[in-house]
């Protein structure tokens, strides 16, 4: 008899009127890598959170290693040797790696009264070396890149000697190289006979790493398939319930005159010490310029400087030949800059505001939305309805708060707000992060539409596919320097990956 590391039977869970999980049966064999696939809001996270004791199921049974168990909280799950790497990292920014890893199971000395830092460091180093992680245990989380933070998350689970690892969308924030590294780690964990549940909505990843795949849609299980018996197109259709176009059509187009440019821009991040060096970029009407790079190489700094959230140390920014280096965020937006921020929860949305008030963000002083001194809610509500419809934002009620939307819909809301302002220059940072294929397809089409309208787009992305299929020109950033630039046709994926990792063109 095969051992099922995890067996979930007839699991249901509702949030208010939303049925997040509807009688789901889900089982994972010991030692396999099992992919959970589904669109945003399909119920993937809910299912694994129930497994991990974070949510209380409404009904259903759970068996671990063929033995029925009751898991009331994560402590219970940890006891069953489960470990979970969450979609939103569960790390305390201002604590060190060590502290984040050992909390809850601290090695102690002097009769348990104080934490044995040395013992902890030794153990953390040991795990770190076993799996080839290169991390300083004393480093603070806030100074780590996303990929590094993810490793800390994995180490947390390994430190607790987890046999069953749940990874909830671990690759959403990783670069291709980092993803490759993660997959290597996963393979080596599998060799260690550990069981892995892996959540994603990226089909190519699924095809690469999974042994079996379970697809969820609208809270229901659609089916479980062996990887070898399926194709990406089949999976996509199961996920979405309709035919999905996986390839985009991009017209060929000659760029117009320059609209936005960055000249000799330098900046040093006082916290991380990262330096942007003499960056020069020019953006022309009707083109998409892509910025490739491993997270933490200066993209965020560049994004914030262009948006006006940070001031550069030196250099100039020109918009329509006007100097805007010292101009405020508001002013830049008024001049026609749209910004899809990479960190949507931090910058892009106000979770507690209604959808209409989120649409109003940044336009509240705009006369269009006012009638004398007051905000013109009639106008705003109409405008909002229009955008929500046009950008296919799905929400439950008229008075929904932004925090109640699923991630993909939140992103569509932001994109709708930013793109419908008639901007001439769109700064789109990680626009499809954590978003499902349906939405990705939609967002890509929107960006291409903007290009058709003869506007300029600066696309900062960690997704090479995305960059390759959307951009006209590509720049590669590494440690704050633009290390390569050229037409998209001049690059191939593999070459880009190497450039991003710091190998120069000649080296190849």
């Amino acid at each position: 008899m095969t051992i099922n590391a995890v067996e979930m039977k007839n699991i249901s869970k509702s949030f208010g009127s939303v049925k997040a999980n509807d009688s789901i049966d889900f089982s994972v064999k010991k030692g396999e890598i099992h992919c959970l696939l589904g669109e945003n809001g399909a119920g993937k996270s809910t299912l694994v959170k129930i497994l991990f004791g974070l949510y209380n199921k409404d009904q259903g049974q759970i068996k671990i290693n063929n033995k029925p168990v009751k898991i009331n909280n994560p402590a219970g799950a940890i006891k069953e040797k489960m470990g979970m790497i969450h979609q939103h990292f569960m790390l305390v920014d201002r604590f060190s790696i060590i502290e984040n890893i050992i909390a809850g199971q601290e090695p102690t000395r002097t009769w348990g009264t104080s934490i044995d830092k040395k013992k902890a460091a030794v153990k953390v180093k040991e795990i770190s070396q076993n799996f080839g992680f290169d991390l300083d245990p004393e480093a603070l989380i806030e100074n780590l890149s996303v990929g590094e933070q993810q490793r800390v998350e994995i180490m947390k689970a390994l430190y607790r000697e987890a046999e069953i690892l749940i990874l909830d969308e671990p690759t959403a924030v990783l670069t291709p190289q980092e993803t490759e590294e993660l997959f290597e780690i996963m393979e080596s964990l599998k060799e260690d006979n550990k069981t892995i549940i892996f959540i994603t909505h990226k089909l190519n990843e699924t095809m690469e790493i999974a042994d079996r795949i379970t697809i969820l849609r609208d809270g229901k299980k659609i089916g479980t398939v062996n990887k070898n018996d399926t194709t990406p197109q089949k999976l996509a259709n199961m996920m979405v319930g309709r035919e999905v176009l996986l390839d985009l059509e991009k017209s060929s187009k000659n760029p117009g005159k320059e609209i936005f440019s960055i000249k000799n821009l330098s900046y040093k991040n006082p916290v991380s010490g990262l330096e942007l060096n003499e960056i020069n970029i020019s953006f022309k009407k009707g083109e998409i310029v892509g910025l490739a790079g491993v997270e933490g190489n200066g993209q965020l700094e560049l994004e914030e400087i262009i948006a006006g959230l940070k001031a550069p140390d030196s250099g100039e920014i020109l918009f329509n030949s006007q100097k805007i280096t010292k101009v405020s965020t508001r002013e830049r937006r008024n001049m026609g800059l749209a910004h899809i921020p990479s960190d949507r929860n931090k910058y892009g949305l106000v979770g507690n505001f209604s959808l209409a008030k989120n649409i109003l963000l940044g336009s509240e002083w705009n006369p269009e939305f006012k009638n004398k001194f007051m905000i013109d809610f009639d106008y705003l509500n109409n405008y909002t309805d229009q955008i929500l419809k046009e950008y296919d934002v799905r929400f439950s009620g008229k008075n929904s708060r932004a925090s109640e939307l699923s991630g993909g819909n939140q992103q569509k809301l932001i994109i709708g707000r930013e793109l419908s302002r008639g901007a001439e220059f769109v700064l789109a940072a990680q626009p499809t992060r954590g978003v499902d294929i349906g939405a990705i397809e939609f967002i890509h089409r929107q960006l291409l539409k903007i290009r058709e309208e003869d506007k300029a787009v600066f696309l900062i992305s960690a997704e090479l596919d995305e960059l390759m299929s959307l951009s006209d020109r590509i720049l590669v950033i590494y440690e704050g320097n633009i290390v390569a630039r050229g037409k998209v046709e001049d690059f191939d994926q593999e070459e880009l990956g190497l450039l991003m990792a710091g190998h120069s063109r000649e080296e190849r």
Partner: protein, 311 residues
């Protein structure tokens, strides 16, 4: 007369140490509560209740020691009540804290009438004797200062240091800080956040009440209605000023207490300065130092929020 000599004397420091006890203990209590994520405006009421229970305990038992125990118990009960409302019932921390303060004021004044048939001040009860610690007396300079004091003063020093140790060096402390920063993360690590919060908030009640019992059994030996007189708010400020760290909180409390002691001495010199301005000294100085301070307060990230595991 040598103004500066009088002000910066060992006597002033000794006075500051007496004045600091209730503020510092409550500030340390506040550090626990807020490090675990619960804003504690109820410190004022907790001090007051501690002072009251201390006097009642001593009144009935005839022993100040039992008075202190009664104060600790009352602080624990109030802390548990506050925990129950803020943690289990998910009450807004600020409102519940205000409620605790008002309840404490009402209950202590009412019970005074029930127990002693009078408002205002209780009869005198057995107070804590000062104790002498011979080894400390031999210290140069500080010998006079530390040789003889109320036991609660010594306890305060021990508590300040051990609280710092507890919060920053022990597993429990790490879990408390984790819970205040990111309760969900703490939860996923298998930390029992409900226990951690209950523990921290209850401890804050106990410590503030201990501070209160110093007022009614250490510094004085009776209870006087509303005798906390705003010390809980000063503790609140001290805790924030001290970066939610017991040592910092103690230092900030000491700043208030010392300038207050200086203020009292300045007044007694009857210099040609309006007494109002002299009385302002501790408050103005605090604002100035705070405005000039380089380190910026960064509260625990989840301070004031509610989190329930296993929804």
């Amino acid at each position: 007369m040598n103004v500066l000599g009088t002000i910066f004397s060992i006597n002033t420091l000794a006075a500051a140490i007496r004045l600091v006890v209730p503020i510092a203990l409550a500030a340390v209590g506040g550090a626990f509560s807020e490090r675990s994520g619960v804003i504690n405006i109820g410190l004022e009421g907790m001090i007051l209740t501690g002072a009251f229970a201390g006097a009642v305990g001593s009144y009935y038992s005839g022993s100040a020691f039992f008075g202190v125990l009664a104060a600790l118990a009352a602080g624990a009960i109030l802390g548990l009540l506050f925990s129950f409302f803020t943690i289990d019932l998910e009450a807004d921390h600020v409102v519940a804290g205000v409620g605790i303060n008002i309840l404490s004021l009402g209950f202590t004044t009412w019970l005074m009438q029930v127990i002693w048939g009078q408002k205002g001040a209780s009869p005198q009860v057995a107070g804590l004797p000062e104790i002498k610690i011979p080894i400390l007396a031999d210290l140069p300079l500080l010998g006079d200062l530390l040789a003889s004091n109320s036991p609660i003063v010594y306890l305060m020093f021990i508590i300040v240091i051990s609280s710092w140790y507890l919060l920053f060096k022990t597993p429990l402390g790490l879990r408390i800080r984790f819970t205040g920063e990111h309760p969900e993360a703490a939860d996923t690590l298998g930390i029992n956040i409900r226990f951690i919060k209950y523990f921290s908030v209850t401890l804050s009640g106990v410590l503030a009440a201990l501070g209160g019992s110093y007022l009614s059994l250490g510094h004085l030996n009776w209870f006087s209605s509303n005798m906390s007189a705003g010390r809980g708010y000063m503790a609140l400020a001290a805790n924030i000023f001290g970066q939610w760290n017991p040592l910092g909180g103690f230092a900030a409390s000491m700043l208030f207490a010392f300038t207050d002691a200086v203020q009292m001495r300045l007044q007694g010199m009857n210099l040609n300065i309006a007494s109002e301005f002299i009385q302002m000294l501790p408050y103005v100085l605090t604002v100035l130092i705070l405005a000039g301070a380089v380190i910026r307060s960064r509260p625990p990230a989840a301070l004031g929020s509610h989190y329930k595991s296993n929804k």
